[in-house]
Amino acid sequence: MTPSGDRTEGLHFDEMTGLLFLDQQLDEGRAREITQHTNSCAACRELLRVLKNENVWLRQAMIAEEEPVPARFAEAPRRGGSWAWAAALGFGTAGAYTLWNGLIDPWMSQASEVGFTQGNLMSMLFFSGAFWNGWNSVLTAVEFLALGTLGAVAAWLLRRYFRRSAKFAAVMGGIICAAMLPSSASAAQIEHGSPNYTLAAGQEIKSDLIVRGADHAQIDGTVDGDLIAFSHIVEVNGHVKGDVIVFAQELHLNGPVDGNVRVFAQLAFLRSTVERNVMAFVNTLDLDEASSVGGSVTTGSQTTRLGGKITGDLLAGTASAELNGPIGGNVKILGRSLQVTPSAQIAGRAEFEGPEQPEIAAGAKLASPFQVTIKKPTPGYLTWRYYWHQTLRWGAAFVLGIVFFLVAPAVFLDASNSAKKAGLAMGIGLLFLVGLPVAAIIACVTIVGLGLGIVTFLTYVVAVYMSQIFIGEWLGEKLLGAGVGAGAIIGRLALGLAILRVIRLIPFIGPLSALVVIVWGLGAYVLTIHKRLRQPAVA
């Protein structure tokens, strides 16, 4: 707006004064002056009139009702509306489980045969096939419903970002399409053990062979491709022209392999020729004297016995190693003990690093003397790595805290605010810390509650880890004050987490403080979630 030519500074009042006059904010004397002035000044009278009109104009614009009030605000809140939340949560959880079941479960079920997870409740529940498979047809409808509900819940949570219906439709369409996508085709032949699988001698499979879920997978025939096996015991007596990839409790490799061998198992016995490399993450690795490896051997194992011929290098991280055979390349072993027998030969450089002097037989043929580095275990807190790891842990929690803050700032601030009610938060935290796993386990032992139980357990683990973030933020606020702005919050979080981390380093007090932080932070988080889920419903 341009200044009015009719109004002269000093003689007339300004717009601010006019506004305050109309809003009756001027003292009596000043208001009287304005009244007298406007009686004799047309320009100021005009200004007041226009400002007054503007008041009306603004008021009318604001009270005009072009949008309907949501129906839920036009009627009394319904009693017990929380069932809808419970149902949505239940189906949402089931939807999450469906995703889990579709994507992760196949791998997990195969890994169950490895034997690493024996005694684990999760594996027991997941992988006892008969327990679960019979429910597939029943589950299909529920899964569809659950997935839909999960999508709806996600859409509701993200609704602020879906202003336009087209975007919303696109996202929902994407979810539906993703749900309807057929399983990816596979060129491999897939066999399920029931309970055993045998590829008989003389039979040949002209593709990759995937064997899953067998108690005993026996390959006596020929596989003209890779052999991928997820079974309790895998016994290969035939010829595999590709790689052998095995997740099992035991692997007995008695037949030739033209490719690599990669094995994740408790026991791995190799008694044949492997043309390329062997990589084994096992409890015990045994290369028989009759075996030979055309490439290198890499292993992470508890016990390693290498009697066969290795053409390439050997890299082993192992508690106990015994070298009996010829090795054409370099040897590097990190471990506790090493025995090199008279029949061993090492053509390349040999290194050992561990707490004990290795036993090297005089008859062993070594191209060069073993380079031995004795490293006695030292208390962790005397090493720089210890502090580096502590720094990394701090950093991980800090980054997670920032991400959480950026994704859900209101929840983040509410949770750290809830931590101020320390007594209440700790009481609730203790209840959930103990009660939730019990509830999850109880849910797990019933088929209906399996998904809910597992997701509850996973959520619980995440919440326990997150607890330090809320307490860290609270602690930072105590020390730095409640400054406003993202920078202040991040600074508080960084300082609070650092102090918590330092306290955890103190003997005896540290673990106790960690427990308190978990209980406290978990309680604060639960309080926040409770607050957000609660409706102003009739009690």
């Binding site: 009015s4 226009v50 604001m62 809140p77 409706q535």
Partner: protein, 204 residues
């Protein structure tokens, strides 16, 4: 100044009785109170917050607070004034919290010189824009400016109440209102208050 009345305004005796029943734990009374005032509070929140979804959430949360704080309500004061105060505090808290992760508040605007309005132009401006356009323009204002106008012209709040809600000195409220009006005029003059621009502005 008396806050805006609700559509189905009940008289003071009825309201006092209703509040007494709510305080005594009568769930039907709470339902009645909610039904009576929730639409008005939703409309208030709708003006104060940039998005409809925010307003819906805020209305729900305001009534949660009302229920918790009803014991602190001084019955010698108008209930609607107290209710709007709770709502305005909540909306302002929501905006402040959100601002933490948004751009800096437009503090620089506080120092911008204001030009005197030309009455003719101001009248033309008022005549040329519909209520819808004004509301769209309102949605594009910085949070504090929008809140000030909504509290004053929708909530009918006094300068003291506005100062208390927004955490500013009472003497600053007039300045705040005047600058907000100027900013709104500029938005309308520039033609930025189209529905599309408003929709984008609503996200900011």
């Amino acid at each position: 100044m008396e806050p805006r009345k609700t559509a189905g305004e009940m008289n003071s005796t009825e309201l006092a009785e209703l509040l007494a029943r709510v305080r005594a734990g009568d769930s039907d009374a709470w339902g009645e109170l909610y039904r009576e005032y929730a639409p008005a509070i939703f409309r208030f929140c709708r003006r104060a917050l940039p998005a409809r979804e925010d307003a819906e959430d805020a209305t729900t949360e305001v009534f949660m607070k009302v229920r918790q704080k009803l014991g602190t309500y001084d019955s010698s004061r108008p209930f609607t004034a107290w209710l709007y105060k709770v709502a305005s505090n909540h909306c302002w808290d929501t905006l402040r919290r959100r601002r933490i992760r948004q751009d800096l508040e437009t503090g620089d605007l506080e120092t911008l010189p204001l030009e005197h309005p030309e009455p003719d132009q101001l009248e033309q401006l008022q005549a040329a824009h519909t209520s819808k356009e004004v509301r769209d323009g309102l949605a594009q204002l910085p949070d504090r400016a929008r809140m000030a106008l909504v509290l004053r012209y929708f909530g009918d709040m006094s300068y003291e109440e506005i100062a208390d809600t927004l955490g500013v000195r009472r003497a600053f409220v007039g300045v705040l209102l005047l600058r907000a009006r100027h900013q709104l005029r500029e938005i309308l003059q520039s033609g930025a208050a189209s529905p599309r621009a408003a929709a984008v502005g609503g996200h900011l």
